[in-house]
């Protein structure tokens, strides 16, 4: 970024970047609605969205594509803002729901709900699972991921561990949860194991309007909380002592911020399965463009997350259409090389 000449133009540049992202997400979403195995033209899509389309295109759009794309947008915003927030809260560029063992914890909880509590079954006619009781799965995933969060937070408070050891704690917890999940699967019936495997792929197709509403409420609530704490995030960039000196209640903010992040991430993960790397990559991508000011970083990260999710999902639907690939695999497959690129370019700025 070139050095702008006045603070006003420097701020306008950041606002412009956010505006561009809004437009990009809107265009990507529109394109995603029209793209797919049942070919719809952009014109048909627009007339249908305005309520004047044919019955067939209405069914395709309102029952299949729109819920999918809204899920992608809401989940993308949620995962990216949580990742962005956790990176500041733990003062660790590697922090996100998937690297702290929260995603694996949620996956364990969901598996427990499916296998032990029988909350979901394999649907024989379609290649998917039917979740009988998504709320039980959500609850189990949440409890289980909170367990993960509390261990990481507990370690950081009582033993004063470094960010690196926190990541290692996350790795250890992920491994423990993965092992426990495997053990459960070993003794479970084939159908249930299949249901768990399908669940962990990550799939945007299983959310209905109810789930979307729940996710939206939680994502919006957590975003509002984070947005109102933007100055606390900025103060934390200078280190814990400086933040305290600027009037931040670091301990309380960290605890509440992590709790809210964990709630949001585990809700998303429990509805759509494990989606890796969005929470890690989206904040780092936008950080390179607009810097570390959380006033702009938070919304920009969320939008970038939404954009990446919509793009990944559309790729997942189009690459080998009519088969829909699991989106979790796409984000990991494309996210890892991108992340490696960021690591070697130097995270968050020039070296």
């Amino acid at each position: 970024m070139k050095h702008p000449t006045t603070y006003g133009s420097y701020i306008r540049y950041k606002k412009l970047f956010i505006l561009i992202l809004v437009v990009a997400v809107a265009l990507a979403a529109l394109w995603a609605v029209s793209a797919g195995s049942a070919g719809l033209s952009l014109q048909e899509v627009i007339t249908t969205l305005l309520g004047n389309g044919s019955k067939q295109s209405s069914i395709i759009i309102f029952n299949h594509r729109l819920p999918r794309i809204l899920t992608a947008i809401v989940a993308g915003i949620g995962l990216a803002t949580v990742g962005c927030a956790m990176q500041s809260l733990l003062k660790n560029p590697m922090a996100s729901a998937s690297t702290l063992g929260i995603a694996q914890g949620a996956a364990f909880g969901a598996s427990f709900a499916i296998i032990v509590l029988g909350a979901g079954i394999q649907n024989q006619t379609l290649d998917g699972i039917t979740i009988i009781n998504p709320y039980i799965i959500s609850l189990c995933a949440f409890v289980s991921s909170m367990f993960s969060t509390l261990i990481v937070l507990g370690l950081s408070y009582f033993r004063r561990v470094t960010p690196e050891s926190m990541i290692l704690a996350g790795v250890a917890l992920s491994s423990m949860f993965a092992g426990a999940t495997t053990l459960m699967q070993y003794f479970a019936a084939d159908v249930k194991v299949a249901a768990v495997v399908f669940w962990t792929f990550g799939d945007l197709g299983r959310t209905g309007w109810n789930e979307i509403i729940i996710m939206t409420v939680i994502v919006v609530a957590s975003f509002i909380y984070y947005a109102f704490n933007r100055w606390n995030f900025n103060a934390l960039q200078g280190g814990e002592e400086t933040a305290k000196g600027l009037g931040v209640n670091v301990t309380g903010f960290r605890l509440l911020g992590m709790l809210i992040g964990s709630l949001t991430a585990s809700t998303i993960v429990s509805f759509i399965g494990i989606i890796n790397f969005i929470g890690l990559i989206a904040p780092h991508l936008v950080r390179r463009v607009i810097g570390n000011d959380y006033r702009y970083l938070l919304p920009a990260s969320g939008l970038m997350g939404a954009l990446l999710m919509v793009a990944s999902d559309t790729a997942a639907r189009l690459v080998v259409a009519p088969i829909i690939l699991p989106i979790g695999a796409i984000t990991s497959f494309l996210g890892a090389p991108l992340f490696l690129y960021l690591v070697f370019k130097g995270v968050g700025g020039r070296k």
């Binding site: 420097y10 400086t242 000196g245 009037g247």
Partner: protein
């Protein structure tokens, strides 16, 4: 005006880091906090603005007990600059704006921006305002940190070794600025410093810490060879050179 009464601090189940600290420092006064490594200098400074919560004692700023204040309100009367400040992807302007954090609800007001701009011009940082702080030199960064503290509009300024990473020229420049701020803004400055000659040049009062207690506290009259020898455990002589007191240490030969 800051008053400290009966302050003591220790980490859990451990020996005291600070005990029986009593002193007061008036407006416009520059106080050097002196003593060996481990004497409790940094701990003392951090107890004053509640970065660390002392087990005992009260700190009054202009008669107000800081224990009864919210964190944001503590930050409005006491500003703190840490010893090490990592350069981050933050512009100088945004870093100084952060000093307004205790006052800002959601958006900075015109008043906040005006204060930041006036601090920037006071510290002659106009040319750096939109640079990222990880591109600055040590001296420039230290000035930015001081500017951020000033933007807090504090009554007390707490500085942990403000000159430790600076070259000779910048040490004098930064201390000169600090002294001038103390006089013109009528702020009480408490700073940790290791260089006794710099302290003699720029500070009015000298507070020696030894073995976690105040060894002595007073004006230039406490800067005697005996006191310095006692605190630092090294023989020194104090001489006058062109009307300026200088401390010259004579380490024991091995």
């Amino acid at each position: 005006m800051i008053q400290v009464q009966e302050l003591s601090f220790s980490y859990k189940h451990d020996r005291p880091i600070l005990a029986d600290i009593n002193f007061s420092a008036s407006k416009g006064q520059c106080t050097a906090i002196l003593g060996n490594n481990g004497a409790g200098k940094s701990t003392l400074i951090r107890c004053l603005n509640r970065i660390l919560e002392p087990q005992q004692g009260v700190v009054y700023v202009n008669g107000q007990n800081t224990r009864e204040l919210k964190r944001n309100d503590v930050a409005k009367s006491l500003a703190y600059v840490a010893q090490h400040n990592a350069g981050d992807r933050f512009t100088v302007f945004d870093t100084i704006l952060l000093g307004r954090k205790p006052y800002i609800k959601f958006e900075p007001t015109q008043e906040d921006i005006r204060i930041v701009e006036s601090v920037i011009s006071r510290m002659k940082l106009e040319d750096f305002a939109l640079r990222y702080i990880d591109e600055l030199s040590g001296g420039e960064l230290q000035k930015v940190m001081l500017a951020r503290a000033l933007a807090q509009q504090p009554q007390v300024l707490l500085l942990d070794e403000p000159t430790s990473n600076l070259d000779l020229c910048n040490q004098y420049e930064v201390l000169g600025i600090i002294r001038e701020i103390a006089k013109t803004e009528q702020i009480s400055v408490l700073l940790i410093i290791h260089d006794l000659n710099l302290a003699l040049r720029y500070c009015d009062k000298f507070l020696f810490l030894k073995d976690n207690r105040i060894f002595c506290y007073g004006g230039i009259e406490v800067m005697t060879p005996e006191n310095i020898n006692e605190v630092y455990e090294i023989p020194v002589t104090v001489q006058e050179l062109n009307g300026i007191k200088v401390v010259i240490p004579f380490p024991n030969k091995h």
